[in-house]
Amino acid sequence: TGELQTKLPAPCRRYKPPPSECNPALDDPTPDYMNLLGMIFSMCGLMLKLKWCAWVAVYCSFISFANSRSSEDTKQMMSSFMLSISAVVMSYLQNPQPMTPPW
C-alpha cells in the first residue's frame, strides 16, 4: 500500500525537451569551432596547395563529428567532411610529391 500511495498514474507529465536553443552552443562550442576551422583549413589547402592544411582539415572535421550534439545538422557535418577530403585529394592530384612538414 505504501507503494500504491506514492504512485499516481493520472498526473503523469510528458517529457518536454528543455527549451534551450541557445544553451547547447553556450555550454560547449567545440563542434561549431571545429567545423569552422575545418572549412578554413580545407580552403587554405585548396587555394594555397598546402597538403598539411588539408590533413588538418580532415582531423578538424573528425573532431567536430565526435563532439557533435544531437541537435546538430548531419548535412553540415557531411559537407565539412567532404570538403576536407576533397582538399586532400586535390592537393595530391596536383602534386603527387610526398608532404613536407610545415616547419
Binding site: 500511495q5 507529465r13 517529457y15 573532431i63 565526435a66
Partner: protein, 483 residues
C-alpha cells in the same frame, strides 16, 4: 716484294670485311648495355685476322664514342678485347711484343674513359619518382593518426554506452517502484514507459520519470566524459575529471514551501552562487561550513536563513551526506529556480524569469574518469537520498517567522528588479506608443480614397486632443491635491 704486295691485298680485303661488320654495329645507336656475347663477333674477327690490331684500335675507339653511360660493361668488354688482343698477339705473331704499339692502345681507352667519367654526375632521383613507400612517411603517419582516432571513437562510445546501461540496470527497480512512467522521449502519442534511456549524444543520456506524489517529474541526465573524442581523452590525462549524474526534480507548487538552500563542495557552491540566479539573489553570504551539524569539511552550506538549514539537516539527511560526501558535488533546493543567470546584451531583461520549484542534485561517479560498470552500484544509495529528499521537501514547512522572512525576501528581490528595469520599461512603453502612432499614420497614408483619408486624419486628431485634455485634467487634480 711480291709477298709484300700479296700481304697488302689480303690486309685490305680483311680490313674492309671487318669495317663492314663494324658499320653494322655503328648503325645501331640505341645500344646501351653490352654483354660479353655482344663482342663475340669481334672476338672471332680478332682471331681470324692476326695483324688487324691498328685498325681494331681505331674501330674500338669509334665504338667507345658511340656507346653510352654504362662504364662497367664497357670496361669489361674492353678488357675482353685487350685479353683477346694479347693472346692473339702472343699466339699468332712471332714478332716480339712492341710496347710502343700498345701504348696508345691502353692510354687512349683510359683517357677516353676518364673523359666519359667527367660529365657524369650521379644525381639523387627526386622523391616522387622514387616509387618507394618510405618517402611518404608523413602521409602514413597521418592516416595512422586518423585510424587511431576512429578506433578511440568506437571504443569510447561503447564504454559510455555500457556505463549508461549498467547505471540503468542498477537503478531500474528503484525507479520503477517509485514512478509510473520511467523513460519517455516525448515522441509517443501515449504516455507509456519506454523503459530505456534516451541517448542524446555519445556522452549524454537522459531519463524522464514521472507519476509520483509530490513531484511533477524527475529528469536524470548522465553526463559522461567525452571518451569518444581522442583530444578530450588526452586532455583528461592532464586533469582528471569525473563522470556526473545530474538529477532535476520538478515539484508541484503546493508540495514545497518557499526557501532556497544548497549544500555541496565549497568549489561547486562558489560557482553556483555566481552562476545561478536564485542563489545569487537569496543567499548572499559565502558558503558556510557544516561542521556545526557534523558534516565533513569538504562540504559547505548556502542557505536563505538558518531555519531552513536546521530543518533540512535532520539525522537521515546528515547520514547520507556524511557517508557519501565524496560522491556529492552539489544539492540545491529552491522555489525560485530559474536556471543560470541570463546575460542579455540589451541590458536587464524586462520581466522576471519564470521560476519553478526544483530540487537539483549533482553526483560524481567514483573513479574520476576510470569508471567501470560495477561502480554504478555505488550510486544507488544516492538515489535513495533523492527519493527521501522529495518526501522531505513535501513535509518540511517553515514556521510563521520563517514564512514572513521568506516573503519579505521575495518582495525585496522583486522590487529591486523593478527599480533596475524601471527606466528600461519606460523606454519600452514609449517606443511601443510611438510605433502605434507610426502604424496609424501609415494606414492613413496608404488609404487611397481621399475622403477616407481625411476622415481618418480627423479621427486621429480628435483622439490626440482628448489625450491632451485628460493629461491636463490629471495635472490639475494633482495640483489641487497638493494644495
Amino acid at each position: 716484294m711480291k709477298g709484300f704486295h700479296a700481304f697488302c691485298v689480303v690486309l685490305l680485303i680483311f680490313g674492309s670485311v671487318s669495317e663492314a661488320k663494324f658499320d653494322d654495329f655503328e648503325d645501331e645507336e640505341d645500344i646501351v648495355e653490352y654483354d660479353d656475347n655482344d663482342f663475340a663477333e669481334f672476338e672471332d674477327v680478332v682471331e681470324d685476322s692476326a695483324t688487324e690490331s691498328p685498325q681494331r684500335v681505331i674501330t674500338t675507339e669509334d665504338d667507345e664514342d658511340e656507346t653510352t653511360v654504362e662504364l662497367e660493361g664497357q670496361d669489361e668488354s674492353q678488357e675482353g678485347d685487350f685479353e683477346d688482343a694479347d693472346t692473339q698477339e702472343g699466339d699468332t705473331e712471332s714478332e716480339p711484343y712492341d710496347d710502343e704499339e700498345f701504348e696508345g692502345y691502353e692510354d687512349k681507352p683510359d683517357t677516353s674513359s676518364s673523359k666519359s667519367k667527367d660529365p657524369i654526375t650521379i644525381v639523387d632521383v627526386p622523391a616522387h619518382l622514387q616509387n618507394s613507400w618510405e618517402s611518404y612517411y608523413l602521409e602514413i603517419l597521418m592516416v595512422t593518426g586518423l585510424l587511431a582516432y576512429i578506433m578511440n571513437y568506437i571504443i569510447g562510445k561503447n564504454k559510455n554506452s555500457r556505463l549508461a546501461q549498467a547505471w540503468f540496470n542498477t537503478h531500474r527497480e528503484l525507479l520503477e517502484s517509485n514512478f509510473t512512467l520511467v523513460g519517455d522521449d516525448g515522441t509517443n502519442k501515449e504516455a507509456t514507459s519506454t523503459g530505456k534511456l534516451n541517448q542524446e549524444n555519445e556522452h549524454i543520456y537522459n531519463l524522464w520519470c514521472s507519476g509520483r506524489v509530490c513531484c511533477e517529474g524527475m529528469l536524470i541526465q548522465l553526463r559522461f566524459l567525452k571518451r569518444q573524442d581522442l583530444l578530450n581523452v588526452l586532455a583528461r590525462m592532464m586533469r582528471p575529471v569525473s563522470d556526473q549524474v545530474q538529477i532535476k526534480v520538478t515539484m508541484n507548487d503546493e508540495d514545497m514551501d518557499t526557501y532556497v538552500f544548497a549544500v555541496g563542495t565549497r568549489k561547486a557552491l562558489v560557482r553556483l552562487q555566481k552562476e545561478m540566479q536564485d542563489l545569487s539573489e537569496f543567499c548572499s553570504d559565502k558558503p558556510k561550513s557544516g561542521a556545526k551539524y557534523g558534516l565533513p569539511d569538504s562540504l559547505a552550506i548556502l542557505s536563505e536563513m538558518g531555519e531552513v538549514t536546521d530543518g533540512m539537516m535532520d539525522t537521515k539527511m546528515l547520514h547520507f551526506l556524511t557517508h557519501y560526501a565524496d560522491k556529492i558535488e552539489s544539492i540545491h533546493f529552491s522555489d525560485q529556480f530559474s536556471g543560470p543567470k541570463i546575460l542579455q546584451e540589451e541590458g536587464q531583461p524586462l520581466k522576471l524569469p519564470d521560476t519553478k520549484r526544483t530540487l537539483l542534485f549533482t553526483f560524481n561517479v567514483p573513479g574520476s574518469g576510470n569508471t567501470y560498470p560495477k561502480d554504478m552500484e555505488a550510486l544507488l544509495p544516492l538515489m535513495n537520498m533523492v527519493i527521501y529528499s522529495i518526501d522531505k521537501a513535501k513535509k518540511f514547512r517553515l514556521n510563521r517567522e520563517g514564512k514572513q522572512k521568506a516573503d519579505k525576501n521575495r518582495a525585496r528581490v522583486e522590487e529591486n528588479f523593478l527599480k533596475l528595469t524601471h527606466v528600461q520599461r519606460q523606454e519600452a512603453a514609449q517606443s511601443r506608443r510611438e510605433e502605434k502612432k507610426r502604424a496609424e499614420k501609415e494606414r492613413i497614408m496608404n488609404e487611397e480614397d481621399p475622403e477616407k483619408q481625411r476622415r481618418l486624419e480627423e479621427a486621429a486628431l480628435r483622439r490626440e486632443q482628448k489625450k491632451l485634455e485628460k493629461k491636463q485634467m490629471k495635472m490639475k487634480q494633482i495640483k489641487v491635491k497638493a494644495m
